[in-house]
Amino acid sequence: MVIAKSNTLALQGTEAVALAMKQINPDMVAAYPITPQTEIVQGFSQFVADGEVDTHLVNVESEHSAMSACIGGASAGGRVMTATSSQGLALMWELLYIASGLRLPMVMPNVNRTLSAPINIHCDHSDSMGARDAGWIHLFSENAQEAYDNTLQAVRISEHPQVRLPVMVLLDGFIISHSLDRMESLEDSTVKEFVDVFKPEFSLLDAKTPTCIGAFDGLYGYFFEFKRQQEEAMRNAFQVVKDVGKEYGELTGRPYGVFEAFGLEDAEFAIIVLGSAAGTVRHEVECMRSRGIPIGMIKLRLFRPFPANELIEAVSHLKAVAVFDRSDTFAGGMGGPVFTDLRSALYESEKKPLMVNYIYGLGGRDLPVELINKAATELEQVAQSGQVKEKINYLGLKE
């Protein structure tokens, strides 16, 4: 294995993503600002202005237009990107389904920020979770390095002939987007080779093969079959995500799977978490393990499609699992989205752990080590007693 040359940099999450975009050198990028995403498209627009990329930059007047422009660009056979956050993603909602329904590959970093009301600009996962069923692939990142790595891999995943689906790369607002992080970047030429050239299946610009994209299909058409194929593409994505993650690992020394497990083999209970909180959770899990407490953790990277089989395999031997969710489903006591998914996945499993849910960090509420310790200690009691006192818990609420 020859690891490609890399450069050690200190970058904010937004800069790391903008750098990845620069190295991808897409045909078109649609730009519209929203905190805390702004510096991604702004940084990228500087690369365009300075002639460092060949990209057509479209400064649009809203996110609705940004996603529309991307759909247009991808239909014309281009490799397209945009980035957004929160209300911006919400405003794109209509178009998210068009992009996935038309099976248009594209990559969109989304800097996770909560949704109004009340107005709040800080981190939680409500925005991307709101787009959970829109047919996009969701890749979560723990830090600037992963946001960079995920953005590069997302291009390959999205454009894979067996997948051809749009991908969201998720990074936590402020915590990742605005924090300076040490990371390794690849050489431009390495990225160029890795992402290769986009080979569209159809293109509106291919005058020899006129195509009709997105037309009305009627009550007796093939709408249902399209949707079934879309689901099939999601199922294909599992393997593609793993293959691309492995290849990327061979290139960089940083392999990626659908999730990252830590200490699970000899654990009796474990925490599952998404995004930047994984770092703090890992720290607390390490501390507890050094005291002989049999705890482990899983950092989920791929949320859509949901890697149910792998997760079942990883957790079924445990006595108890705590799922940390940074958003709520407001389903009246069903818990957060990762919790409901995992619980549902475990239904047929013969051996399954007791499950508790911790909803934390809404609207940027901090998740200090003490709170993780509180949850982990409660989880230990669940594992020991075999009893769940409180299934859905809200961690760090003001009393």
């Binding site: 730009a31 600002p33 702004t38 702004q42 500087q46 202005a49 400064n59 007047e61 809203s62």
Partner: protein, 275 residues
């Protein structure tokens, strides 16, 4: 201008200090608006101030009226709902150039077209202030912005002309360096029975000012003075002298049927014919 004017009684003092940078024009517009409300002796409980998202839109949070802080670009849509539900309320939208003409451009057109009795005050600082200085549809061609490091290639929109041609019945353009005339325009706009636009040319020394080397707030106000001409003065000036100047004042004022009244008429007709 009201003689003795206690601004604090109109403000949510617990929300102070405000977020605006030193020298920002937002506070000047807010104070002109409050003086107008005071002059007209409007009952704050009958006034609803709606805003979108942006530095300027933060005004609604500081005013001790009925206020609704909404989403980016949509305050006119929210305001239309409020006005239709209770036409006797004085409904005012205060927002930014980006909010009103970029993401919310379509609501602007249709509010003008309907001539609904809402007063829209747009604080035009030629930039998206809140998100860090991107150009807006009102940024002049050639101006600099974080998204136009080599100058803006897009031509600017004259939102007053758009408002007039779309059907607004009171259209005025004020400048922050003339607080009394600004207040007067807002009074007339509030009095107008129909859709009123008051576009205020304002200053964002932090983003627009810095990127365009316009100096500090004082320099920017001087720039306004040197580059704007009132309608009245313009009428006496040769076209060559007006080149590059921005016209201020009441640009249009006329009568057209008002939307909620027209709506009420239809309701009455329908009820009469049903009897």
């Amino acid at each position: 201008m009201p003689k003795s004017f206690n601004v604090n009684k109109y403000l949510r003092m617990d929300k102070m200090p405000h977020i605006w940078c030193p020298g920002c024009g937002n506070g000047m517009v807010m104070s002109a608006f409050l003086r107008a409300v005071d002059s007209l002796q409007l009952d704050p409980n009958r006034v609803v101030v709606v805003s979108g998202i942006g530095c300027s839109s933060r005004i609604s949070g500081y005013l001790d009226f009925n206020t609704l802080h909404t989403t980016h670009g949509r305050p006119l849509a929210f305001a239309t709902g409020i006005k239709l539900a209770e036409p006797t309320l004085e409904v005012v939208v205060i927002t930014g150039d980006g909010d009103a003409t970029a993401i919310g451009g379509n609501h602007f057109l249709h509010s003008c077209r309907r001539n609904i009795n809402i007063t829209l005050i747009v604080i035009n600082n030629y930039i998206y202030g809140m998100t860090g200085g991107q150009y807006s549809p009102l940024t002049h061609k050639g101006d600099f912005a974080t998204t136009a490091p080599y100058g803006n290639v897009e031509p600017e929109l004259d939102m007053c002309k758009v408002a007039e041609s779309a059907g607004a019945t009171y259209v005025a353009r004020g400048v922050t360096y003339k607080p009394v005339s600004m207040e007067d325009m807002i009074i007339k706009a509030l009095e107008n029975k129909g859709f009123s636009l008051v576009e205020i040319l304002s200053q964002c020394p932090v983003y627009y000012g810095r990127m365009n080397k316009k100096g500090d707030a004082v320099e920017m106000l001087k720039w306004q003075k040197e580059n704007t001409v009132t309608m009245k003065a313009a009428a006496q000036m040769a076209p060559s002298a007006l080149k590059g100047k921005i016209i201020t004042g009441v640009l249009s004022s006329r009568y057209r049927p008002e939307y909620t009244e027209e709506y009420e008429n239809v309701i009455q007709q329908a009820q009469e014919s049903a009897q």
